[in-house]
């Protein structure tokens, strides 16, 4: 399976600031996704990162709050903008490899705490 690296692995942020999370994959993948996991909760899909075009956001998530880039087939970023304590979560990058019949693999996650 693909090796998925996320940076930062964890961070403590101040209210009102923004943070960009990077996701790097060691091979080209067809699909990349960003998920959020709030404390003690399950995973919720934020958006599908589309290569060379705007991301596709799920209900309840907007581009102004969670801008996403995907400049190529192996890299994506998620920015959490104007953070509040409610944004404290684990943010996970997920990929579907070519030929994997839909199986998803996840990075290690980025654990953000907003004070």
């Amino acid at each position: 399976s693909a090796v998925i690296s996320q940076k930062p692995s964890r961070d403590i942020c101040q209210r009102g600031t923004s943070l960009t999370i990077q996701c790097q994959v060691d091979s080209q993948v067809t699909m990349m996704f960003w998920y959020r996991q709030q404390p003690g909760q399950s995973l919720t899909l934020i958006a599908t990162a589309n290569q060379g075009s705007e991301a596709t956001y799920e209900s309840g998530f907007v581009i102004d709050k969670f801008p996403i880039s995907r400049p190529n087939l192996t890299f994506s970023t998620l920015t959490v903008s104007n953070m509040s304590p409610e944004d404290s979560s684990i943010y996970l990058c997920s990929v579907e490899q070519s030929g994997s019949a839909g199986e998803l693999f996840f990075g290690e996650g980025s654990r953000l705490t907003v004070l």
Partner: protein
């Protein structure tokens, strides 16, 4: 969207015991996966199993797609099995993966 229900929500086992985790879903699926989230937050793929039965060591899984459920079996549990087990499904109508709320497993020595 598709509904995914996992049971039980919490489970405490003595080391060496066996357990069965269940995942019910509300629609036909293209994709069903089981994950283990370890205490550090890492999601580990256990099974990709939209139908049928698979085994990997002490773990096995069965999905009965026609009856819309999947089971994860853990035999001879070890303390390292502790964590949260998630079932995630992709319905044929919506091409994104929906996660259940998980089963939190604690295996005590």
């Amino acid at each position: 969207g598709i509904q995914v229900e996992q049971s039980p929500p919490d489970l405490i086992l003595q080391e060496g015991a066996n357990s069965t985790l269940r995942c019910n879903f509300s629609d036909s699926v293209n994709n069903l996966q089981w994950f283990h989230q370890n205490p550090w937050g890492q999601l580990i793929n256990l099974f990709y199993i939209p139908s049928g039965t698979k085994q990997n060591g002490r773990l096995s899984a069965t999905t009965v797609a026609t009856e819309r459920y999947s089971l994860l079996y853990i035999s001879s549990s070890q303390t390292t099995d502790s964590g949260v087990y998630f079932c995630a499904v992709e319905s044929r109508r919506y091409s994104t993966l929906t996660f259940g709320k998980g089963t939190m497993l604690l295996v005590s020595p």
